[in-house]
């Protein structure tokens, strides 16, 4: 599934970029190769023509802001952007924390399994020694089993 996804993303990126695009290094891991292909595909032109800003026009807009919808619209847009940023930050934090917790749990489980396996091995060795001693006692030295 993963390989199919990587292959399709990479193929799409190659088609979109043309034959001579700067390919990802051949030793790039699959996730990075796919991400690079996605970036190649998404490299667009700017949405608006270039235009120099003007402090005067900004000041005029700010002056009008109290009387028009502009200020409210700007405030609302800023609030939405801020909320989206916060949500993205929070999501990154929780995914990182969840990954760490899962990894720690796996390490603890494996360590416990290892300890229990060692105890089993020690018990088995003890049992073998005991069996051997019993066998020696029953048959005596030099006797055939």
């Amino acid at each position: 599934m993963k390989l199919e996804l990587v292959a399709s993303l990479a193929a799409f990126g190659l088609l979109a970029a043309g034959p001579a695009h700067a390919a990802a290094p051949t030793d790039a891991p699959p996730g990075k190769a796919a991400a690079r292909a996605a970036l190649v595909t998404g490299a667009d032109l700017p949405a608006t023509p270039p235009q120099l800003p003007s402090q005067a026009s900004d000041a005029a807009r700010a002056a009008l802001g109290g009387r028009a919808f502009g200020a409210q619209g700007d405030a609302s847009r800023r609030a939405r952007e801020q909320a989206a940023r916060q949500a993205a930050d929070d999501a990154s934090e929780s995914i990182t924390a969840a990954s760490k917790r899962a990894a720690q749990a796996a390490v603890a489980a494996a360590a416990s399994a290892s300890a229990s396996a060692n105890a089993d091995a020690r018990a088995a060795a003890g049992q073998a020694r005991s069996d051997a001693a019993k066998s020696k006692a029953t048959h005596g030295p030099g006797t055939r089993p």
Binding site: A17, A22, G31, A35, L39, P53
Partner: protein, 207 residues
């Protein structure tokens, strides 16, 4: 032998339980391709935090798609510090778009001019088209109001401790002032640049 088997089991269980940085890169790629840039940003950031410093270039590029040019410029600055070896023409194209969206047109032109054919024919053609659109704008004397705007952004970003951004805005103000015969506020822009550099030196960050 038993210990080796146990070690292998331990490693594989850790790999299953905690996804690797590259797994998050793959998820990020899927979201980016589907134009779900907020989700892609989350995945690339997790990859970055999971130990893949090179993921910072993808974080910065995704911020460009999210129309957050100033945050993108900060992220590109961090990427250059943390994973300079991963920088290439594709990331420089996205970096130029961040400059363009932040109205740092000289910065955009400088980055695009160095691309050549490296990012492939389609992106190279786009870069040429953007440069053609910018050519007029960065060659005629600007209004004083435009230069004032760059000074205001530079001061605001410097006060906020975003030194690299402040430097970019002062650079732009200085380049624009150079197009005017009166060099409007050029000395002030150069003094601002020196102040920003001093802040960088004080913070111990590479200029």
């Amino acid at each position: 032998m038993k210990r080796l088997a146990l070690l292998l089991a331990l490693l594989s269980s850790v790999a299953r339980a905690g996804e690797t940085a590259d797994d998050h890169m793959l998820e990020g790629a899927r979201y980016f391709q589907a134009q779900q840039f907020t989700e892609a940003l989350v995945e690339f950031r997790v990859a970055e935090r999971t130990g893949d410093a090179g993921a910072s270039w993808y974080v910065a590029s995704t911020l460009v798609k999210l129309r957050r040019p100033e945050d993108a410029l900060d992220a590109f600055e961090r990427a250059e510090t943390s994973a300079a070896g991963d920088r290439d023409a594709l990331f420089d194209y996205y970096h130029a778009l961040a400059c363009y969206d932040a109205r740092l047109f000289f910065c955009a032109d400088r980055l695009l001019s160095a691309l050549g054919e490296q990012p492939g024919p389609r992106i190279a053609a786009q870069a040429r088209q953007i440069r053609a659109d910018l050519a007029h704008l960065i060659s005629i004397p600007p209004s004083t109001g435009a230069i004032d705007w760059y000074h205001a952004r530079a001061q605001a970003t410097l006060s906020a401790g975003r030194i690299a951004l402040a430097r970019s805005y002062y650079n732009e103000a200085s380049s624009l002032a150079a197009l005017r015969s009166d060099g409007y506020r050029r000395k002030e822009a150069l003094a601002g640049l020196a102040r920003a550099r001093a802040s960088v030196a004080q913070a111990g960050v590479a200029p």
